[in-house]
């Protein structure tokens, strides 16, 4: 048997503990990543929810930009939730620092307004290999971003009733505008864990 799967959660700021707990409930080892050297040997990396301006600044201060890009080039799966989606996008609105540009989507920050406009919504997930697809995924949107444009080879996995894309994937890079780590449903975490088993 291969060694136990180890997934890192970028722990610079945000709800990294919730992702760690979801991963543990999904039966894999979870590691809080605070320095670039800790990326070594991981089977996947999650950039959690939080404040994208804060996380991007800390990514630059602690020199994570190149190591994360190298991690993806080396075939490592990456998932960004909410702020994490903004961080990994090609571009995002109202940011003074460049995003990581790891998936060809452009993102509008705070697309629905302020906190009183945050909402919960049931989504239908379009991915063919998503578990129990007939069962809606209850999604939590907190001061959430939305995907405005998607580039070549980007597959939209979920849309709001108004058609706005809120989950997408290209290869081993996954982005969700909502927070699967805040609800007990582990299907998105399991879907992401499936990426690490994927062939190049």
């Amino acid at each position: 048997m291969p060694k136990k799967v180890r997934v890192g959660v970028l722990a610079l700021q945000g709800d990294f503990r919730e992702h760690v707990e979801s991963l543990q409930r999904a039966g894999v080892e979870a590691v809080e990543v605070r320095l670039p050297a800790q990326l070594k040997g991981l089977d996947g990396l999650i950039i959690p929810g939080g404040e994208s301006t804060t996380i991007l600044r800390l990514i630059d201060i602690f020199k994570f930009r190149e190591p994360i890009i190298d991690f993806i080039r080396g075939g490592g799966p990456l998932w960004g939730t909410c702020a994490g989606m903004i961080v990994v996008a090609q571009k995002a609105t109202d940011l003074t620092r460049p995003t990581l540009g790891l998936i060809n989507v452009s993102v509008c920050r705070n697309a629905f307004g302020r906190q009183v406009d945050s909402f919960e919504e049931d989504l239908t997930i379009a991915a063919g290999d998503f578990a129990q697809r007939e069962k809606p995924f209850h999604a939590v949107f907190i001061r959430a971003p939305v995907i405005e444009e998607t580039g070549a080879a980007v597959e939209v996995l979920a849309r709001l009733p108004n058609g706005a894309p809120v989950a997408a994937r290209r290869g081993k890079v996954l982005v969700t505008a909502f927070h699967p780590e805040l609800t007990p449903d582990l299907r998105f975490h399991e879907f992401f864990l499936g990426f690490s088993a994927m062939k190049e």
């Binding site: 610079l12 700021q13 301006t53 804060t54 909402f119 919504e121 009733p161």
Partner: protein, 293 residues
């Protein structure tokens, strides 16, 4: 589509964890805080050290000023209302602030009752000195807790006292048997169901930040090691000699609170910290933490 739910209220606080929420009084301050890496700002009329110096009645900030701050940054904007002043809270909700702090730093409007926070769509954070106070605020609908500390003093001692009190009681509950919980809940002045939940989960059901007295990166890391999920910095940034630099250093210290080498690096050459106050010299009427119950 559901809005204003408990999950959403509590959830925004979860997104702020591992971060620093900074008091700001102008749009310019707010931009400095955002650029330094603050995960949110707290809009108020004066920082606590100036409230202390000015005396008189401290109220909710001018809505004009709050709007300017909201327009200046893309991070969440919180604002303070007086304890029990539910109309100030209604005004702040109408302005669209992201979180309301029902705060002892302002002059209380009601000495018996806190705001019934469940009826609001906007989430609330409230201060506490111990676990019982935290659980009473939760029962009223607070979606985030902060230990009070003693605002505007630049002195961490009260923040430590309050965080120790909260964590100590959580630890004690872990060692208790089920039949000991009702009497302990009574002694805390807290609902039994919440004490039982803490026994089961081993922690508060909401995010708990530290506040009141954080002046240095080491202060911030101390509160994190004592179990805070993040920190509020009031006067500590903008009453120091180099606010932008100190703000950045405190943000980095909260991320790497367990790494003394990084703490040493970020603490170097920050200039003068805010002047501090020995809290033992405060008259009882000058102590802010005893406001509320």
């Amino acid at each position: 589509m559901e809005k204003g739910t408990w999950l959403l209220k509590r959830g925004l606080a979860q997104m702020l964890k591992g971060g620093v929420i900074m008091d700001v009084v102008t749009a310019e301050h707010a931009r400095i805080a955002e650029e330094a890496g603050a995960c949110a700002v707290m809009a108020l009329e004066r920082v606590p050290a100036d409230i202390r110096a000015a005396g008189g009645v401290a109220r909710m900030a001018d809505p004009q000023r709050i709007k300017e701050i909201m327009g200046a940054v893309t991070i969440p904007v919180m604002a303070k209302c007086r304890i029990g002043h539910f109309v100030e809270a209604q005004v702040l909700e109408a302005l669209g602030v992201d979180y309301i702090d029902e705060s002892e730093v302002l002059t209380p409007a009601d000495e018996a009752n806190h705001i019934w926070k469940h009826t609001f769509k906007v989430p609330f954070v409230c201060g506490c000195r111990d676990l019982g106070e935290a659980l009473r605020r939760l029962a009223e609908g607070a979606a985030m807790i902060r230990t009070k500390g003693e605002a505007g003093t630049g002195n961490i001692v009260e923040a430590v006292r309050h965080m120790r009190a909260v964590q100590g009681d959580i630890h004690r509950i872990q060692t208790m048997t089920e039949d000991e919980l009702p009497a302990f809940a009574k002694s805390l002045g807290a609902p039994l169901e919440q004490v039982q939940e803490i026994k089961q989960e081993g922690r508060l059901p909401v995010v708990n930040f530290a506040a009141g007295g954080v002046a240095t990166p080491a202060d911030a890391a101390l509160m994190m090691q004592l179990g805070a999920d993040g920190v509020f910095v009031g006067s500590g940034v903008f009453k120091s000699s180099d606010p932008a630099r100190r703000a950045k250093a405190i943000v980095e210290a909260v991320t790497h609170y367990q790494d003394p080498a990084i703490l040493a690096e970020v603490s170097r050459g920050l200039g003068e910290a805010m002047p501090g106050i020995d809290v033992r010299t405060l008259a009882p009427t000058e102590v802010l933490a005893t406001r509320g119950w």
